[in-house]
């Protein structure tokens, strides 16, 4: 089936049509063949039955007249007298009576038997009549039954009538034996009528003995009286039809060689097959031609469609005038529309890309301008702030005695606040550095990185007791300095906000998520109110007062900036008084930063 599907329509169509034609022609020819066969059989049966009937009509009357003749002879007083006298004279007189029955042609014999079957008188061809039992066997069969003679060379029939006294007492029988001859004028006439091929047969209605009028033949089925039968009485298969000869125990049959009866049927079959093949061949050629005409345009449409699919939208359909052409022209219209929409789409895409480029460039320019500005501002701010802080400090140190306590307090505020301002500037610079830091693509082992960071930060607060656990963290691709800063800021935060805790605890771990690794830093510190979580990652955003925890509110902003530059996300989860967990989701497959 798969093979059939792969075949082109140009082949499938003619083959299908050829198969259909073959089936149709074969069906018609087959039906006609059976019809013709029946017809031929009917014709043969009719012809043969006619011949048989003519034969029966010839033989029937002669059987009847001969039987009547025998009957009259049996009533002859001279025969009766012989039974009374049994003298040689009486025998001679009876013999004369018998001699008178001598037929015009053919072999013939006649005899008179007593009641026991013994032969008393005879005439005609000398015969060995056999014992009385043979005579009784003859008499037990219908008068006229055929028998095969001792030499099995010929067939004869025996007619008999009873001999009786005038009052009806049985005396014996008058039995006539006759041989059939082929050369009777009637038979020859009949043969001429039915044709030399025809075979004429006769036999007992009992079916035991059959002859072709010359010699015995194989018995044929007596069913031939009602229908055409096939049999081989003399070696050649014959179609036979028979007719019972009236008032006799005979059946006559006419037969033709079966091959001759079937000849017209065979001829018809030959012609039918020839015509079928012719029709199939013509149909196949026509189908092949028309399918070529049909699939040619389809092929061109397909090729054009393939060309369009491959990007060349110049494909055009075939040029002709029916459904195919309508398909082709609508295809052409479609391909033009596809092409024009492709063009429009390409133009729109180009325009969009241009816009995106322009916007991106503008954004990048604005961004770098902003970063340069924030950098130079904060950088340039440092010197004056340092001068203010420095000279205020000099004032406190060198002119301590000259300042009133109130003036000293004021100058101390200046010193403290300028130092704070310096810290803000430094943090702002650090934040802007994250944006300007070039992004390397390195494999970063976060486990090692976290261990180093924790070690370093612990060293900065050697007096604190903090329980830090670092689980196995993934390796990710990114900029090591930035990632280190992000982790450091988170750990630093955790250290800071667990400071009031006795059993301070920090857990650093990770879990996989589709397409990314999530790294978390969990502490059991003071936590924060989730209501303010949206402000957590803003620059200078703080959720604690400066006198609670130091800081400028830039650390988490830097963390967010770093994670965003790595194409990741950052979020937090916390409960006031129970600790906070910060999550970094970093892509496991690196995306453009």
């Amino acid at each position: 089936v798969g093979f059939l599907r792969r075949l082109s329509i140009a082949i499938k169509l003619p083959v299908a049509i050829a198969i259909l034609l073959m089936l149709a022609c074969g069906g018609v020819a087959g039906a006609a063949y059976f019809e013709v066969r029946l017809l031929a059989a009917d014709v043969a049966a009719e012809r043969l039955e006619g011949a048989a009937r003519m034969l029966a009509d010839l033989l029937g009357p002669s059987f009847r007249t001969r039987t009547q003749l025998l009957q009259r002879t049996a009533d002859d007083p001279r025969l009766r007298q012989y039974f009374v006298d049994r003298t040689p004279e009486a025998a001679a007189a009876a013999g004369q009576v018998l001699e008178k029955l001598t037929p015009a042609n053919g072999r013939w014999a006649i005899r008179v038997t007593d009641v026991g079957g013994a032969t008393l008188l005879e005439a005609g061809e000398r015969q060995d009549w056999g014992p009385a039992e043979a005579t009784r066997a003859t008499l037990s069969r219908p008068s006229g039954s055929f028998s095969v003679d001792a030499g099995r060379e010929s067939v004869y029939y025996e007619l008999f009538v009873a001999l009786r006294t005038p009052v009806g007492d049985p005396l014996g029988h008058l039995i006539e034996r006759r041989w059939l001859g082929r050369s009777t004028p009637a038979l020859e006439l009949l043969q001429g009528m039915v044709g030399p091929q025809a075979e004429l047969l006769i036999g007992n209605a009992a079916g035991d003995v059959w002859t072709d009028f010359t010699r015995p033949v194989n018995p044929v089925p007596v069913a031939l009286v009602n229908s055409l039968v096939t049999a081989s009485p003399a070696g050649v298969p014959l179609s036979l039809r028979g007719v019972a000869v009236p008032e006799s125990p005979w059946v006559v049959a006419a037969g033709l060689p079966t091959s001759e009866v079937a000849e017209p049927v065979r001829a018809f079959l030959r012609d039918a097959i020839l015509i079928t093949l012719l029709i199939v061949a013509v149909g196949m050629l026509a189908a092949f031609w028309s399918s070529r005409r049909l699939t040619g345009p389809l092929t061109r449409v397909t090729e054009a469609a393939e060309a369009i699919a491959a990007g060349d939208s110049q494909g055009s359909g075939p040029k002709r005038g029916d459904e195919i052409v309508r398909l082709a022209s609508s295809f052409e219209a479609m391909s033009q529309r596809v092409e024009s929409s492709h063009r429009e789409l390409a133009m729109m895409v180009d325009e969009l890309e241009d816009r995106v480029h322009a916007r991106t460039a503008a954004l990048e320019a604005a961004n770098s301008e902003l970063e340069a500005f924030s950098y130079s501002v904060s950088h340039d701010l440092r010197a004056p702030v340092r001068a203010v802080a420095g000279f205020a400090k000099i004032l406190l140190e060198d002119h301590h005695a000259e300042l009133s306590p109130d003036a000293r307090r004021c100058v101390e505020v200046v010193v403290r606040r300028t130092n704070q301002m310096g810290q803000l500037i430094d943090d702002l610079l650090a934040f802007s550095r994250v944006g300007r830091q070039s992004m390397g693509r390195h494999n970063v082992d976060l486990t090692q990185l976290a261990r180093a960071v924790v070690e370093e930060l612990r060293a900065s607060e050697p007096d604190r007791q903090v329980d830090v656990t670092i689980e196995s963290l993934p390796c990710i691709e990114g900029e090591p300095t930035l990632l280190r800063q992000a982790i450091a800021n988170l750990v630093q935060n955790a250290l800071k906000y667990t400071r009031p805790r006795d059993g301070a605890r920090i857990d650093i771990g990770a879990y996989p998520s589709p397409g990314e690794h999530v790294i978390f830093v969990r502490d059991n510190g003071v936590g924060f109110d989730m209501a303010y979580s949206d402000r957590l990652f803003g620059v200078f955003q703080r959720l604690h007062r400066p006198d609670e925890f130091e800081g400028t509110g830039v650390g988490l902003a830097i963390v967010q900036r770093i994670v965003q530059r790595h194409g990741g996300r950052v979020w937090a989860d916390a409960t006031v008084g129970a600790g906070a967990t910060f999550y970094l989701a970093l892509p496991s497959v690196k995306e453009a930063a």
Binding site: Y375, A383, V385, R386, G390, K393, G422, Q423, D426
Partner: protein, 135 residues
């Protein structure tokens, strides 16, 4: 002269001098106000023990001064310490590539500033043993 301080900001220079003075090093400091002056001073005077160099300078900036110092055969091994407000990685890297001996970020906090300048001055003038500088 032991220290050549290249500093355009007079207050910063004053603060640095004060920090050095607190360790009795101030009288051995010469201050110039920009890169051109620094190069002229070096050209005409005996080499100092160390050059404290700001990066953000008028006319010829600090990195260019450093480059020219290192390009001059006489000052190829002269100790130069950058004393700058910038903690920018490119500045640090460039300075080291040009052969700076140390890089100090000026803290805003005065106490820390004093500490940093004092440490640097003491180290380079007292602790460190430089090679003899010709010229």
């Amino acid at each position: 002269v032991s220290v050549l301080l290249v500093e355009d900001d007079p207050e910063d220079a004053a603060l640095a001098l004060r920090a050095l003075a607190m360790n009795n090093l101030a009288n051995r400091v010469h201050v110039v106000r920009d890169g051109v002056e620094a190069l002229e001073y070096l050209d005409r005077n005996p080499a100092p023990r160390v050059v404290l160099l700001d990066l953000k300078l008028p006319r010829v900036n600090g990195l260019e001064v450093l480059r020219r110092i290192r390009a001059d055969e006489r000052f190829r091994i002269l100790p130069v310490v950058v004393l700058s407000s910038s903690r920018e990685e490119p500045d640090v890297r460039k300075a080291y590539e040009l052969g700076v001996n140390s890089y100090i970020v000026k803290p805003v906090d005065f106490d820390q500033f004093v500490k940093a300048v004092t440490q640097a001055g003491l180290y380079w003038i007292v602790t460190n043993h430089p090679p003899a500088v010709s010229g």
